[in-house]
Symmetry: D2
Subunit: 277 residues, 4 copies
Amino acid sequence: MIETHRDGEGRVYLKGWTEPELFSVVLREADEAGMDFQGFKVRDEDTLTQLSRDLRAWGVDVQEIPAGDLDHCGRRMQFSTPTGHRFELYATKTYTGPWGISEVEPEAWPRGLRGIRVQRFDHCQIHGRDIEAMRDLLSEVLGFYVTEHVIDDTGKNLAIFMSLAMKAHDVALILDDRHGTFHHAAFYVETWENLLRAGDLISMTGTSLDTAPTRHGITRGQTTYFFDPSGNRNEVFAGGSTHYPDQRPYVWHDRNIGKAIFYHHQKLSEKFMTALT
Amino acid sequence: MIETHRDGEGRVYLKGWTEPELFSVVLREADEAGMDFQGFKVRDEDTLTQLSRDLRAWGVDVQEIPAGDLDHCGRRMQFSTPTGHRFELYATKTYTGPWGISEVEPEAWPRGLRGIRVQRFDHCQIHGRDIEAMRDLLSEVLGFYVTEHVIDDTGKNLAIFMSLAMKAHDVALILDDRHGTFHHAAFYVETWENLLRAGDLISMTGTSLDTAPTRHGITRGQTTYFFDPSGNRNEVFAGGSTHYPDQRPYVWHDRNIGKAIFYHHQKLSEKFMTALT
Amino acid sequence: MIETHRDGEGRVYLKGWTEPELFSVVLREADEAGMDFQGFKVRDEDTLTQLSRDLRAWGVDVQEIPAGDLDHCGRRMQFSTPTGHRFELYATKTYTGPWGISEVEPEAWPRGLRGIRVQRFDHCQIHGRDIEAMRDLLSEVLGFYVTEHVIDDTGKNLAIFMSLAMKAHDVALILDDRHGTFHHAAFYVETWENLLRAGDLISMTGTSLDTAPTRHGITRGQTTYFFDPSGNRNEVFAGGSTHYPDQRPYVWHDRNIGKAIFYHHQKLSEKFMTALT
Amino acid sequence: MIETHRDGEGRVYLKGWTEPELFSVVLREADEAGMDFQGFKVRDEDTLTQLSRDLRAWGVDVQEIPAGDLDHCGRRMQFSTPTGHRFELYATKTYTGPWGISEVEPEAWPRGLRGIRVQRFDHCQIHGRDIEAMRDLLSEVLGFYVTEHVIDDTGKNLAIFMSLAMKAHDVALILDDRHGTFHHAAFYVETWENLLRAGDLISMTGTSLDTAPTRHGITRGQTTYFFDPSGNRNEVFAGGSTHYPDQRPYVWHDRNIGKAIFYHHQKLSEKFMTALT
């Protein structure tokens, strides 16, 4: 990703090159790894006000963080989720256009990209206890819909994947007693050949690999996972199904979870299951 | 594409393998090539009723075609566009799930695919006179937004590309005195390597090529064009920018239109400019 | 691979589609897995006679197997190697041209390919005790040269990779007390995207996976391994360095063997190290 | 390509990153474009002496250019070909190993590559009158063999493609009254995706395009052509058949030459046919 800004508190603002606003990820120095919050942009300030009301009506406590707490970002409405995470909504962020190309007759890609050449933030996977309430909150108030889910023999949801538009998922919810924990943030590249390059770079640079390039069963996407120096797991993700709001979700059974997650190996590694932040 | 149905009038219903409903394209035998109409699915029957009212309020004449005119499709609301085309809205269509894979623990792709292995219908390009009125109709009533446009030195729009969600475009509007004409329908494949395969198959099968695999400037997508036996132009399309409703459109100037359309050749062929149906 | 013949003893003759002769692999039914012998074609019958003399002069016992023992194959000169394997030379085999394309104006690829679409046999990896003597035999008599090798801290060769022309290797020799054993046969596909397809098919068909698609350090090639129903390990291999006879070999140290073999994971699986036939 | 040296006469020495010697291409400033000579490396100085004798015995006039005429290169044996070109043989050149990677535990590719990331020189296409005599000289004295050829209705060779080892061709000979002329030099990249990148870069940098990325019928390779600032045509080439000395050549008819050269477009451009240097 590309560093676009640092603020007075030493926080680093980053983005993928296709993202039209100033940043999509903010890192701060901390004693332990993890995700402070995940933010979603809404259409405009009126929508932000209305959605805050809707969230409160649904029974969620919402707190307003004034503009300026993050540089280049308007007021943010923060709330705790049934999975024990902090989510935020905002409507205003500094607009810069994609990085490295013009908005007038843009070239096909920027010349100066380095490293894995991430295009954009893609999704997060978070773990917690009440994922079915989380699903209801996201679908009833915020317009998400379920694309795929994993159930046990009783039909209970062990994992729920939800999307806002056409992506295979914008958020992945995993049932887990480690309430409020974070599994990974995923960043998008365009092709399977880009994933080979990502895997090569992870190896060349001595970065801590979690899972080498392979395919997911769920989402059909292609993937590699690594740990950044803070200990957070990152995914590089490509492809993935196009999904539609009127499309029925795919169902997976937990007894075949290995193939559902890693389509080639058909089993989960200990590290993939246990390392959360 | 995959043939999924033939009706009593001899019409052939087709779909790409990822499309969850019974068909996305219907072909009928006719004396001349062309597109009868383009249909868009809306959320539900209530939305269909409301949008029909909105269209009429905007000044468009809307006619209802009862369910059953097309097999497996509910009532359709048809209207003429400022570009001289027929568009339709509908809310109900027979649901089958994607072709060749299960909705329970789907494999990554179906084994029995043949030919170019199209995933889904992607977009249409249509030509006509009043594309700015068309843009207003699509954005004000139907929720489209502009992703890219081509202007002349006076700022007049010569081409407007519009999307409904995240695709680089769902419809391309070209200013043209040949009012109400059709340039191409585009079908999606996943990768540049699939496009090589498509170009190879067009050659192997003696199909009439329009443009060999290459890249577009507009959309950044990868493309090849061919003529089907009826004389209609088809595009095989891969990649393409992800666009967002809050993203500013890219601007192209008509003086550089060659590179805008064909990023490598940087010029348009006579056939690409003149063959419309 | 494509079955091209069965002989009176029930042996099955196979080839990859680009191979111009009738077969490159022969399978026979047996009580246990393994490789009977590996054959190399030489220029002509005179060369075969001369090389047999050279082998004997080097100290190898050579036995002639008359034409007709294998269908469609001339006489074969068989000898035991310092690694405990049987190698053969032959000069004559039935010529058919590549499979599925004409020798006059061939299409880019055959339409009827199924499965992994292997192009050709690529190389074998064999294990045994005296790999340095094997290296000398192959280089001094048969024209091989070393492309890469793995050494321990004393400089002793633990693995030697040898090529005849421009490939990254035609044979891999591994120092191992399990004398005369067979690790894998490798078959070539053109691209990393073909390897994704191979990995997908291994999963879809319930085939026993050994290693999911990834990159090798040694050879820079891309790879996936699986076990066929007999229990023999097969590799699907793509890419790989171009090497030249006048090029110095690459050197790898056994202390970094994980990255040398599997460039992304950087470690060897137990199964990869122990399963030999 | 990578600049590795400049000599006292201002000549620039270049190489692709996988090439183990100091240079594979030398450019000199000149009043007009063209190729001075093409050199082939032979095994050693004794072989060089022997081949010079063989060439003279075949009836070719051979002149020795002493070591030092080119920096870092031993003596060169130069001769005129039946097609009106200068070819050279040499045995000694400064050895550096591939560029940007170590010969001990090399990484998969060098980090610092820029531009099209050419791996190596691949082949030349040259035009002249007596290509059948040229074929005989190359096969009888220098060990080349024919991989593919184009004939007219009388069976006369209009184009002959010849290889030394396993490549689809090392030299292409075209029958042409423009005796002793040069059509293009080709440089190798690994994948079709690299060719998309090459085509993109040609467009981005305003380089003069000859042919956008596509496939050849002859060789099955993938290709794009451009003109460098001197006016010489360059090809970026990927893939291509693996060929063997004991394999029969593919035959093409001049009446279908369009598809033979450009498998997708199936026709030759005026510029491709006329621009020679």
